[in-house]
């Protein structure tokens, strides 16, 4: 079976429609840890907690509220939310082509790869090649999960990549950030420019690593070699496990079964 991907469908514009599936392009470098109960190493779960009653709240008692002022909420139902959910896209329909250079990276949200599905390989190669040569990106709207995203499709190293873009209203204003007055003199500007030029290099991301991640992994690797892992009470293992009474009853019953066969 082919890789399923996060989404299957076609990418299309004018007369072209290419079957593709979407897969992740990045994997967050975060080392993730399970939260355990220090007493017996049981893995812990998150629950919704009511501080007033001091207990976990069951699902059927949980509803949604939109906070309009402290302690004041407008309630919204699942049905109301479902009624505005966009329908799942079967196609990524390119509306227009743009120059990727025009897009401020501040708009970039999350990258994916588009992989050709069966039968789409030839058209996919063609589109990838033409987009690479013209250096253009296709802009499309596309529903993934519950949301409709604005996305840019572009060609990178022989593959089509899709990056979700922020909508312009999500970008925070930057007007008040930089100081208004222009007090920089020309000589200072020049010196700074020269300095920047001196430090110019090709972008080479392999040079840099996440040092904290590397150190954590080193610690973990060392610990794996030196110490035995702790185990959850009913961790999955090779040997028979479960309540002792059940195991004894199963063993006895199995003997009878075998004798009768």
């Amino acid at each position: 079976m082919t890789e399923q991907g996060i989404w299957n469908g076609t990418i299309s514009f004018s007369l072209v429609a290419i079957p593709v599936h979407l897969v992740k392009a990045v994997d967050s470098g975060r080392v993730s840890f399970r939260m355990l109960h220090g007493k017996d190493y049981s893995p812990l779960h998150r629950r919704m907690f009511c501080p007033k009653e001091e207990k976990a709240v069951p699902n059927d008692e949980i509803i949604r509220g939109y906070e309009i002022a402290p302690d004041k909420y407008i309630l919204i139902t699942d049905e109301e939310l479902a009624s505005v959910s966009p329908e799942r896209s079967r196609t990524i329909e390119i509306i227009e082509f743009i120059d990727m250079k025009e897009v401020d990276p501040i708009y970039f949200d999350h990258p994916y790869y588009l992989i050709p599905s069966k039968g789409g390989e030839k058209a996919y190669r063609l589109l990838t090649e033409v987009m690479r040569r013209t250096n253009k990106a296709g802009i499309a709207k596309f529903v993934l999960g519950e949301r409709e995203y604005l996305v840019a499709v572009y060609s990178t190293r022989g593959t089509l990549a899709l990056i979700t873009l922020h909508y312009s209203e999500e970008i925070l204003p930057d007007e008040d950030i930089s100081p208004k007055e222009d007090l920089v003199d020309a000589g200072e500007k020049n010196r700074l420019e020269i300095n920047i030029r001196k430090m110019m290099a090709d972008f080479n991301p392999e040079k840099y690593t996440d040092r904290r991640r590397k150190k954590i992994m080193d610690i973990l690797r060392k610990k794996i070699k030196q110490t035995a892992p702790v185990e959850t009470p009913h961790a999955e293992g090779e040997e028979a496990e479960g309540p002792a009474d059940l195991l004894a009853a199963l063993k006895e019953s199995m003997l009878k079964v075998k004798k009768n066969r």
């Binding site: 028979a240 496990e241 006895e252």
Partner: protein, 301 residues
Amino acid sequence: MSRKAVGIAGRRLALSNLEKDLYPSHGFTKAHILDYYQRVARFILPHLKDRALTFKRYPEGVDKDFFFEKRCPSHRPSWVPTAEVGRDDAEKMTVCLVNDLETLIWTQNLASVELHVPLARAGSPETPDSMVFDLDPGHPADILDCTRVALILRDLLSELRLASCVKTSGKKGLHVYVPLNREETTFEDTKKFSKAVAVIMQKNYPELVTAKMAKEFRKARVFINWSQNDSSKTMVCIYSLRAREKPVVSFPLSWKELENSAGAGDPERLQVMPAEAISRAEKQGDLFQELLTKKQRLPYL
């Protein structure tokens, strides 16, 4: 594309593409599928009732791409019964409940040839009303090896005073179910119990059985998949069609039938096709009826 409007229980439904050959090597069209599900409705509906349906859709036929859909499509008719499931916001979604004939027919108009449902009902998603052993043969083991395992399993369970029933998966294996139907049961219980059973089976029949998921252990053995006893898992519903080359039904077998065929003969003989499924179900009734009613407690937990 052909369209045909039908009225079911006073509801209008436009059926499309009836002549589409969804089992092309067998000439079994969408119209045949609709006819099958309509005739088997009174047997399958009680087993689908109030369970979150997972669509497994084959719009271009069983030999082409399929896709899973857990969410109930938003283009559904207003009369399709639904439920909200999911623990937290990220998992929350609206699912379809196939509680009536018109909804069943609608799912088939979407070419959802296979109907998969969880072991718990949507209203009590953490309460399994049965425990299942999914017997999956690793090549060259086949369904006949599964019958041997199923019979040992039945005997072992019956020593613990638990009644069980068996159906074909409609693909290569068998599914053994233990009715529970008690509010107090949790998936933790069924998982713990089924795993202990699978492990002791493996210990006593190491040449025949494995309880391990890893592929290398499953070769030439029957894998007892106990991990299906989980709120997030689904099983193909009894009487559902399967998307194999030929239309085969996941069909209940009597233990007698298994005893007569265990370990010998033509493995395909145990597979039940739609016409046979209808005539057998009409004659013998629902062999899985106890699955919905019989109350049993898992002992020694």
